[in-house]
Amino acid sequence: MSAPSDGGRAALAAAQERLLRALVAGAEAPDGFDRERLAVAARALLRKRAAGVARAWPRLAHGYGERWPEVFAEWAAARPTAGAWRDGWDFARAHRAALPPPAARELAGQECRWRYDGAADPRPRRGPALRRVPGGVVVGLLGRTAAFVRDAPRDR
C-alpha cells in the first residue's frame, strides 16, 4: 500500500478548496469541470441549506412563505455556510428592517437568550434582555423568553 505523499495531500487540498469555493463562495469554476453541472450542484446545495435553516428558524422561513428558498439562496449564494443556526441568524440580521413580524419575534427571542456578534459562535446571555418587535416586546431571563405583543400569538 502506498501512503499518501505530502505533495499528494497538498495538491488534493488545493484542488478540493478551489472546487468548494466555486460551489459555495461564488468563485470561478476550476478548469476542466462541467460548468453547467457545477451550477446545478451549487443551486442544490443552496436548496438544502435553505431547508436546514427553515428547520432551525421555522418562523423566519415561514414568514417568507413559498419565496423562502429563493430569497435565502439569493442572499446565501456567495456566503459559505456557518451551520443552519448561524446562517439563519446572519440572514435575519441582514434583513432586520424588513423581517415579517413572526420572523422578527423569532430573532428577538434568540437575541434575548444568546449574545451573537455575527462573527464568533453565539454565547448564552446571563442577565435579562429586552427586544422591541412590531407591536410589542420580547423579554428574556434565565434562558427563557416571553413575547408581549398586541394581536399576535405568544412565542413558545
Binding site: S5, L12, A13, Q16, L19, G32, A44
Partner: protein
C-alpha cells in the same frame, strides 16, 4: 486485516426524530440507522434507546468525517463514531467516500473525490486511521454526485474495487446512488453492480429522488422510483446483501406510503416484510 462477515440485518429504515413513532411501531424491524452526529451522547433519544433495548440493530452513520478530504481525518470525529458505536452497541458504523470541507470551508453536503491515484492513497490512509481507532468494522458508502472531476484515472468500479482491496472496510452500497450516477453519466447501472465485490456489502441504502434542471437529484424526500426497486431485484439475484434500508430525509409521507415502500423493498429483495 480484520474482516468479518457482516451481520444479517433484513429490511430497515433510517431513524429520524420526525418518524420515530412510525419506526417504533414496525413489528418486524431488526435494523435501523441513525445519523451519528445527531446522537447526543449525554441525552440520547429515549425512542432510539428503546429500539436498541428491543434488540433492533442501530448503525451509527457518520456524515461529517470527510474520509475523502485531503487532511488526515480528525481524531475527535473518529472518536465520536467509536463512542456512538459503543453507546448503541452497534456491530458496525458507516461513513461516506466523500469530502465535506476544504480550506476552512464547510460544504454542508457530501462532495465527490477525484478518481485518481492521489485521492485513492488519501482515502485508503484515512480509512486505515479510522478503522484503527474504531471498536467495530467500518462500511464506506459511494455517494451520488451531480458532477465528476476531470481527468479521471479510474472508472467508478475500478476506483471502488481498488479502495476495498487496499482497506478492510466493508461496502455500504446505496442503490439509489448507483441509479442516480448512472443516469446522470448516461451509463448502465448494472455495469457498476456487476463489477463490484458484492460479498463485501454490509448493507444497502435505497431512497427516492427527483428530476430537476435535466439532472436526477438523490433527494431522499421523494418516492423511491420503480427503477431503483428494479435494481434492488437485479442486485439480490446476484448476491443478496445482509440488509437493505429506506432513507427518508424530508417531506415525510403518510405511514401507509412509508409502509408501502418498505414492503416494496422487502419484496424486491426477497426478504420478509417488517410492517
Amino acid at each position: 486485516m480484520r474482516r468479518m462477515t457482516p451481520p444479517e440485518l433484513g429490511v430497515g429504515i433510517g431513524w429520524r426524530p420526525e418518524i420515530a413513532g412510525f419506526v417504533a411501531a414496525l413489528p418486524g424491524l431488526r435494523f435501523t440507522e441513525v445519523i451519528a452526529e445527531s446522537v447526543d451522547a449525554d441525552h440520547p433519544d429515549p425512542q432510539l434507546l428503546a429500539l436498541r433495548e428491543r434488540g433492533v440493530t442501530v448503525v451509527p452513520h457518520g456524515v461529517r468525517l470527510s474520509l475523502g478530504g485531503a487532511e488526515p481525518v480528525r481524531p475527535e470525529r473518529v472518536a465520536l463514531l467509536a463512542d456512538r458505536a459503543q453507546l448503541l452497541e452497534a456491530p458496525l458504523v458507516s461513513e461516506h467516500i466523500a469530502f465535506v470541507r476544504a480550506g476552512g470551508l464547510e460544504a454542508g453536503h457530501l462532495l465527490p473525490v477525484p478518481r485518481n491515484r492521489a485521492a485513492l492513497d488519501v482515502l485508503a490512509d484515512n480509512i486505515r486511521r479510522t478503522t484503527d481507532a474504531l471498536p467495530v468494522p467500518l462500511a464506506v458508502e459511494p455517494i451520488a454526485a451531480l458532477f465528476d472531476w476531470p481527468d479521471a484515472e479510474y472508472d467508478e468500479a475500478g476506483f471502488l474495487t481498488e479502495l476495498l482491496d487496499r482497506t478492510d472496510a466493508l461496502l455500504l452500497l446505496d442503490v439509489a446512488n448507483v441509479y442516480a450516477n448512472a443516469r446522470n453519466r448516461g451509463e448502465d447501472p448494472l455495469d457498476l453492480i456487476e463489477r463490484l465485490p458484492l460479498e463485501r456489502i454490509a448493507y444497502c441504502h435505497v431512497a427516492g429522488g427527483d428530476d430537476r434542471e435535466g439532472v436526477y437529484h438523490d433527494t431522499h424526500s421523494h418516492p423511491v422510483p420503480p427503477e431503483v426497486f428494479g435494481l434492488v431485484r437485479e442486485l439480490c439475484a446476484r448476491h443478496r446483501p445482509p440488509g437493505l434500508m429506506i432513507e427518508r430525509d424530508g417531506a415525510y409521507p403518510s405511514a401507509a406510503e412509508l409502509r408501502g415502500e418498505l414492503d416494496a423493498l422487502a419484496d424486491a429483495a426477497g426478504l420478509p416484510r417488517v410492517t
